[in-house]
Structures are given as structure tokens and as C-alpha cells.
């Protein structure tokens, strides 16, 4: 079945089996390997991408369901060689150690900050509760998201 979609502003198409999962289409067909596969059981959130602006676990969506829709992956955050404020926040606040969960954390946080301009720590912890990190204990991830919220409020993108 032929599917077409826009990912990070670029048009993509592929002929896929209906059973192909979206994360495999993104990684193995379109070679956008920033999106990770962690648990493969809908728990960890490492595969989180935005589907029409909503954060979804791409291991639990069929590629055919993304037909004619708009996606954003972690590769879409950086613009013209400049890291997104969220990425800068993760660097500044040491929001990652091994980095495996980071693409998912970034995409979830991106969708969250689009709706919540001045989140509290509790809001952030609730928002990222479907993304597991086994290194940081979340403290620095929360700080990184706060860092980005502040940067965006002060005029970042």
C-alpha cells in the first residue's frame, strides 16, 4: 500500500505492508534514525514522534495510519544549524546521560511546551510520565524543560 506523508517539512512516500509499524518506516525506510526503539511494548516512549502535532508512540501506530499526515521527529528540532531551546536546555542542564530516551523526551516536551507556556515542575513531571529514563532520575530533565520554557518565553523559537 502506497503511503505519503510529510516529515519535518519534507515529503516522503513508500510502498508498505499494512503491518509495518510507523517507527520502522521512519527508521528503516526513511533512514531517520534519531527516533529510537526502546521497549517495543508501548511503555518507554523512546519512539515518541509528533503526528499532526500530537505526541504518539510510533511503535504502537501502523505506518498506514500516518498516510496523508504530518510528522515531526527529533531531526526536525534543529533549524539552520541552531539547536532548539529544548536541545540547548538538555545540554545546559545535563538532561541526559546515555541519551537513549532523549529523542522521546524532546518530542514529548516539544508538544507539551506548545500548549503550556509556564509549566510547574508537577506539570512537567505529569507530561513526561510516559517517557522512561533509567539514568538521570528525571531531575535534570525537568530542569532542562524549565530551561527551555524560560528561553522560549524570553523570545527563543
Amino acid at each position: 500500500m502506497l503511503v505519503k506523508m510529510t516529515i519535518n517539512g519534507e515529503k516522503h512516500e513508500a510502498d508498505v505492508e499494512p503491518r509495518l509499524l510507523l517507527v520502522h518506516l521512519i527508521r528503516e525506510v526513511f533512514r531517520l534514525t534519531g527516533t529510537h526503539i526502546g521497549c517495543d511494548t508501548t511503555h518507554c516512549g523512546a519512539c515518541t514522534v509528533l503526528l499532526d502535532g500530537r505526541a504518539v508512540k510510533s511503535c504502537t501506530v501502523f505506518a498506514v495510519q500516518a498516510n496523508d499526515r504530518t510528522l515531526m521527529t527529533v531531526e526536525g528540532l534543529e533549524q539552520n544549524g541552531v539547536l532548539h531551546p529544548l536541545q540547548q536546555g538538555f545540554v545546559a542542564e545535563h538532561g541526559l546521560q546515555c541519551g537513549y530516551c532523549t529523542p522521546g523526551m524532546l518530542m514529548t516536551s516539544y508538544a507539551f511546551l506548545a500548549k503550556h507556556k509556564a509549566p510547574t515542575e508537577d506539570d512537567i513531571r505529569h507530561a513526561i510520565s510516559g517517557n522512561l529514563c533509567r539514568c538521570t532520575g528525571y531531575v535534570n530533565i525537568v530542569k532542562a524543560v524549565q530551561h527551555a520554557a524560560t528561553a522560549i518565553a524570553q523570545g527563543g523559537s
Binding site: 500500500m1 505492508e17 499494512p18 503491518r19 509499524l21 517495543d40 511494548t41 508501548t42 511503555h43 516512549g45 515518541t48 500530537r54 505526541a55 504518539v56 508512540k57 504502537t60 501506530v61 501502523f62 498506514v64 495510519q65 514529548t108 505529569h126 507530561a127 513526561i128 510520565s129 510516559g130 517517557n131
Partner: protein, 292 residues
Amino acid sequence: MIPATFEYHAPTSVQEATALLARLGDDAKILSGGQSLIPLMKLRLASPKYLVDINGLPGLDKIAESDGFLRIGGLCRESDLEESELIRTRYPLILDTCRVIADPIVRNLATVGGNLAHGDPANDHPATMLALGAEVVAVGGSGERRIPIAAFFTGPFTTALRTDEILVEIRVPIPPARSGGAYVKLERKVGDFATAAVAAQVALAADGTCARAGIGLTNVGATPIKAQRAEAALTGQRVDEAAIKRAAGLAAAAAEPAADLRGSVEYKTDLVRVLTARALHRALERASGPGR
């Protein structure tokens, strides 16, 4: 993990979808949010020959009050409920529930209709809808019918829906003034099924006695459980500590949990007693508070 092969259909109207379901029969499964079905397919616990994707059906994602009912479209996402001003301000029991289902990312796709139609006794909306006295609207080849929620769950992962029927709407009677509800869930971690959970909804009469009580239990039986004796024990009574204690005991007696990694039968049964009391306290607080 790769699911078995299947044939994919994406109908664009309810009529087209029900005709497809009638034609494909028991080999077909409806794909709604997919957050239960796709994991089951990946584990090959489900290998349907045909998937009928209903996400393209128009008009099934509304949340609105009309004709005395709160009407929730079958394709309404859990996160839509969580963000709905109507739900936030007037339906605390539903808000409590949708905030503890799976995790926030899963809730961006998971649908209310799917949470009910899956028929999983561990799902959270069933108990809540039992407590609220909701009804389910199903559309099939022979038209539309309304199914009272108490008659909807017929066995584990089995509902009153026929092969060609789609759950298109959930109707909740708009609670009268001085109503309140609460959902209290114990889970080991975010995203886990409930060890046990209790939904409670109460309406108070002018004299402060309980005009109506609804109590639903999650994951302590082969189906979601309506704790009818506990409800009856509260109705018409002044809901004081003694009445709550009695109702909590009756709710625990209605539970039929199985022992598993989450706990023993004794533990879960006693948990239902404790959670029922907590849910009733919170529901009463809300019923007596400002607004609804």
C-alpha cells in the same frame, strides 16, 4: 515485534464501516486508538485477518451536553477529555479517570470507545461509566441501539456489541445539582493496570441524604463490577462515617479478584474496601463543595 499480516481497510463513513464488518465477520477487528490492540497484535495474542480502521469516521470525537446527557463520541481521545473545559469543570469522576489511564502519550491516541469496547476488566472507564449509569450507543447494519452499561460487559474481553456494530457514543445522564464523583486507583507505576481501583458517584438530596450512589470496581473480577449492594446501602441514607464504612465493606464483598503479581486475593479485597471509602469521601466533598 512484528504483527501477523492482515488486510487493512479504512472506511470513511459509519455505513461503509458497518457493511465491511458485516461482510468480514469474526475475522475482522476494529482499530480505534490501537493502544491495546496493536500491542496484542505485536505479541501475536491477536492476529486478526482484517483490520477496519475507524479513525477516519467523521463526527465521532465530540464532547458535549445535550438532551440531558453528556455525550462523548466513541473516537474521543483520552487526552481530549483531560483538556475539555466541560469535563474539567463538571465531571470530576471522568477527569480523575482519564488522567490515570496508561500514560499521557498513550492517551493522545487511546479512545474512550475503545477503552469500553475492549471489554478488559482492568480498563478504567468501565467502572466509571458503571458508577455514572451511562449507556453505550452502538450502530450496526440493523440500525442504532442503546445498551445500558450494566448490560454491556458480558465476560472477560467480551461485550454486548455484535460483530457488525461500532460503539459510536457514550451517554452519561447529566448529574443533578449537589453531585460529586471520584476515581481512586492504586497502580504500581504510571502506565500499569490498576492493582484495584474504585469509581464513586453520589448525588445528595436537599436534606443532605444520598439520593443516588454509583460504585464501580476495576480489575477485581472477570468483568468490571457494579457494587450494587454498596450502592443500595447508601441510597436514602445520611452518608456519615458509619455508612461509608458499611458501603466499603459491601463493595469489598462484591470484589472477586484473582491473585497475581500485583497482590493476593486478600490484599486486593481489602484494597477495594479502603479505596471505596476514599472515593466516597472525595465524592462527598465534591458534592458538597461549590459548583458540582
